[in-house]
Each structure stands twice: as structure tokens, then as C-alpha cells.
């Protein structure tokens, strides 16, 4: 199969159950962000723009009211999207207000965090999905056949995997660029765990007890992160790296309990473990039972791991 044919398959559509559930997960994260108490650190503005909204007037960016309005809009638009109302505008508004709320947080703090970057990109992907299918979506809904109608283009899933892969690959490359290939010497990980680690963490215990063990974990994390872009290249790399990234996040969350990477953990599990393949297989079986030739396509895609 050549590249053009492969690319064309990105636009094949399947039933939307997996996409709907993914959207619900994202919307629950959106509401969680809206409910997080805003943080405003004292201090002068940084010289460089922290976010793509850093060009806004300081009075707007630093005003708590701006944040509160965006939080209200985020909750309202997320609920509308969840209810299937005002599509696709509610979707775009959710993605925009989510991006705004987190951008305003980053503009008003002196310590960064990366717990909502992946969610941001996934929200934009799913908002675009709604843009392209909203008429068929509404028609299917009205006909009571939303779950049976093929409305989920393959690119929505593949772009989501791409976004996760690129994000984690950057984490690995930045470590190599900043500290070199021997970043994972174990000593720095031991220092971070010694300083911030949860005292009852089994991961933390072993990391602090053995430099070699710490070095293996640390180097393993760097390798897995750097190779994360490979999750895009079929089901096996996706599964292997997905398990690796999930293990990495489990270790991080089990050691640095309050780091807030729970959202990324859920997204990695949902998108990189074979959950989507399970949904497609289930769909294929149900369509085969119904005598639908489209089931063959799904089977073929599953076989090639695309």
C-alpha cells in the first residue's frame, strides 16, 4: 500500500462510540480545569511571552475576571458539547476557552506545568471532527441512529496519537539537548526523589536505595519518551511504547504524588493501549453479523495495524 492509499484510509469512517467516549473524557478534563482554583503569583511580568495569548494587554491577562469569565464559558460550552447542542460552535468554544483558561494560568504563575498540553491539542482535534460531521451527526441523532452511523474518521484517532507522541518525544529530545545522552545517570533522579518524593512510595524507595536502578529507570524513561513518535507507526509500536509511557507516568505519579499528570496517564492508556482496536473489532463483529460489507474494511485495517 503506497503513501497516498494509506493517507486515503485516514478518511474512512467507523461508528463513533470510541470517539464519543474520548470526547467525554476530554470534556470531563475541561470541567476539571474550570473547577481548579485560579492561581495568581505576585511579581513583575516575564520578558518573554509565556503563551500564545501573551500579547493581550496586561490588565486583561492579570485580571481575575478574565479567568473567571473564561472558566464559566468553558463549563457552559463543554456541557453544550456534551449534550450535542450548538455543534460545532460549542466544540470550538470549548477548545478555545480551555486553551485560554490554561494560558491565563501560565501567564499568572512563576512555575510552569505541563498537565494540560495534551488535552488542549486533543480538544482542538475533536472540535475539528465535529466541524466536519456536525450535520450528519445531528441527522443521525434525530433518526436515533447515532451509534450505528459511520461518523468517526480514522484521522481523529491518528492525529490524537500523533499529538501524544510528539509531546512525549519533545520531552525526551529536550533532555538530550540540555544534558546529553547520559542524562539518566541516576543521581539527578535520586535528588528529585529525595527532595520531593512521597516517603511511602515503593518506586521512590528503590530509586533511593540503588543508583543503578535509578539510572536504568531514568534512561529508560528518556528512551521511551524520545521514541514516542513511533506510536504513530502501527499497533505494535503503539502498544509497546504505550505500556512504556504508562509505566513511566505510573512511576512519576507513585513518587511525586501531586504532580497532576493523572490526565496524561488516562489519555495515554485510552489512546495508546489497544482500546480503540477493541472498539473497532467489536464494531466489525456486529456489522458482520448484520451482513455489512464494511466489516471487511475494518478487519483489513485491524490486520494492517493502521
Amino acid at each position: 500500500m503506497n503513501l497516498a492509499e494509506r493517507f486515503n484510509r485516514w478518511f474512512e469512517r467507523s461508528r463513533p462510540t470510541y470517539g464519543i467516549l474520548t470526547t467525554w473524557i476530554l470534556l470531563s478534563f475541561a470541567v476539571a480545569l474550570a473547577l481548579l482554583p485560579p492561581v495568581f503569583h505576585e511579581g513583575p511580568r516575564a520578558e518573554t511571552m509565556a503563551t500564545m495569548f501573551g500579547w493581550l494587554p496586561e490588565a486583561v491577562v492579570r485580571s481575575p475576571w478574565t479567568t473567571h469569565v473564561c472558566r464559566v464559558v468553558l463549563v457552559a460550552s463543554a456541557l453544550l458539547w456534551f449534550a450535542g447542542r450548538l455543534l460545532p460552535w460549542s466544540c470550538w468554544l470549548t477548545a478555545l476557552s480551555f486553551t485560554m483558561v490554561w494560558a491565563l494560568r501560565m501567564e499568572n504563575v512563576a512555575n510552569g506545568a505541563h498537565i494540560f498540553h495534551a488535552t488542549t491539542w486533543l480538544l482542538w482535534i475533536h472540535a475539528a471532527w465535529m466541524q466536519f460531521v456536525h450535520r450528519e451527526w445531528q441527522a443521525a441523532r434525530q433518526a436515533g441512529r447515532l451509534r450505528e452511523t459511520c461518523l468517526y474518521p480514522r484521522w481523529v484517532f491518528l492525529l490524537s496519537v500523533f499529538a501524544l507522541g510528539v509531546f512525549h518525544t519533545w520531552a525526551g529530545l529536550t533532555k538530550i539537548a540540555e544534558s546529553g545522552l547520559d542524562w539518566g545517570n541516576g543521581l539527578s533522579l535520586q535528588l528529585w526523589v529525595y527532595l520531593w518524593g512521597w516517603s511511602h512510595s515503593p518506586f521512590g524507595y528503590f530509586v533511593l536505595a540503588h543508583r543503578t536502578f535509578a539510572a536504568i529507570l531514568q534512561t529508560g524513561a528518556m528512551v521511551i519518551e524520545s521514541l514516542s513518535f513511533l506510536t504513530w507507526f502501527g499497533k505494535w509500536p503503539r502498544l509497546i511504547l504505550g505500556v512504556g509511557i504508562l509505566g513511566f507516568y505510573t512511576g512519576v505519579l507513585g513518587t511525586f504524588v501531586d504532580y497532576g499528570f493523572h490526565f496524561n496517564w488516562i489519555l495515554v492508556a485510552w489512546l495508546l493501549l489497544p482500546v480503540e482496536a477493541w472498539f473497532r473489532r467489536r464494531e466489525s463483529v456486529s456489522r458482520e453479523v448484520a451482513g455489512d460489507p464494511g466489516a471487511v474494511q475494518v478487519e483489513a485495517a485491524l490486520a494492517t495495524g493502521s
Binding site: 474512512e12 498540553h117 450505528e148
Partner: protein, 166 residues
């Protein structure tokens, strides 16, 4: 375009649109281009990110304790000795400049540097204090296997208030 199947028993519509919309193709290609180039061009600027957390490779860090003449511990921020490092490169991708501090995660200041730093602080920091003792505990590699307080590198320095004489 997929067609909707409104019958009650028929299977779902064909899975492949005959002519995928141009808009969808443009979005997909545009997203990939932006996703790949965004962090390179924009760096750490949300929603773009180079995910720099823990990218550095510190070999040690310092724990500071500042005590007044009565032996009570004093607020580190008052003497600009507080830690602002949280695993991310300090000040990267944030809109508020982190507070000034002598503390650099991964570095150990000299006694002379600590004296100079404290003595240039505004009078407010020194109010009611003829001198302070700064205890610096250096945490790092202790035996090639574990980390902990390195006694040989840790020290205490007494710094007199500016104008109080030494």
C-alpha cells in the same frame, strides 16, 4: 460522503466516503505541520511545548536555614534564599518572573557569595537583626550509591548586618 441509514434493520452506512472533503485533508496536513514545527518555532509557549520538565542534570542542591541571634529560624524569602526551582527550568514558559534568589538548584554558593548576597539586601530584611547564621546543607552523592547530606561540603556562615561591622 457517508449516507445515513434510516432503516431499522439494515447495517450501517459504507465506511469510506467516496471523496473525502478537502477541508478535512487540509486540517489533517495543517495539524501535522503545526504539531511538528510549532515547538521548534515557538519553543516553550503554550499551547506549544518542548516539555522541558526535569531536562537538567543536577548533581547536588542546597538546603538553607537562616537563624537570628535568638536561634529561631527565619523566612528564607526574606533573605532571598528560597527555592524557586520545581523541576522545570526556572522562568521558562511562565508569565511571572520568579522571585530573586541566590539559590540555584545544582550549585553551591561560596561563603563569600552568601555574605555579599545578604549584605546587599534592603534594610527591611535586616530589621532588628545584628547578624544571622546561614546553615547550608549540601545534598548530593554520598557514596556512589545513595544521596544525602554531604557533611564535608555543608557549612554555616555568620553574616553581620550591613553597617554593623564584622
Amino acid at each position: 460522503m457517508p449516507t445515513l441509514d434510516h432503516s431499522s434493520t439494515a447495517p450501517a452506512a459504507p465506511a469510506t466516503p467516496a471523496n473525502p472533503r478537502t477541508g478535512e485533508r487540509l486540517f489533517v496536513v495543517g495539524f501535522i505541520v503545526v504539531g511538528l514545527l510549532g515547538p521548534i518555532v515557538m519553543g516553550e509557549r503554550y499551547p506549544f511545548s518542548i516539555a522541558p520538565m526535569f531536562c537538567q542534570q543536577p548533581t547536588c542542591y542546597c538546603e538553607y536555614v537562616v537563624k537570628g541571634p535568638d536561634g529561631d529560624s527565619l523566612d528564607l524569602a526574606r533573605f532571598q534564599l528560597q527555592r524557586v526551582y520545581d523541576g522545570n527550568p526556572v522562568g521558562l514558559g511562565v508569565g511571572v518572573r520568579p522571585p530573586e534568589t541566590l539559590d540555584r538548584f545544582g550549585e553551591v554558593p561560596t561563603e563569600q557569595l552568601i555574605r555579599e548576597h545578604l549584605q546587599q539586601l534592603p534594610d527591611d530584611a535586616w530589621r532588628g537583626l545584628p547578624y544571622v547564621d546561614v546553615e547550608v546543607s549540601v545534598i548530593g552523592d554520598v557514596d556512589g550509591v545513595h544521596v544525602g547530606r554531604i557533611d564535608e561540603r555543608s557549612f554555616t556562615v555568620r553574616v553581620t548586618a550591613p553597617g554593623a561591622g564584622s
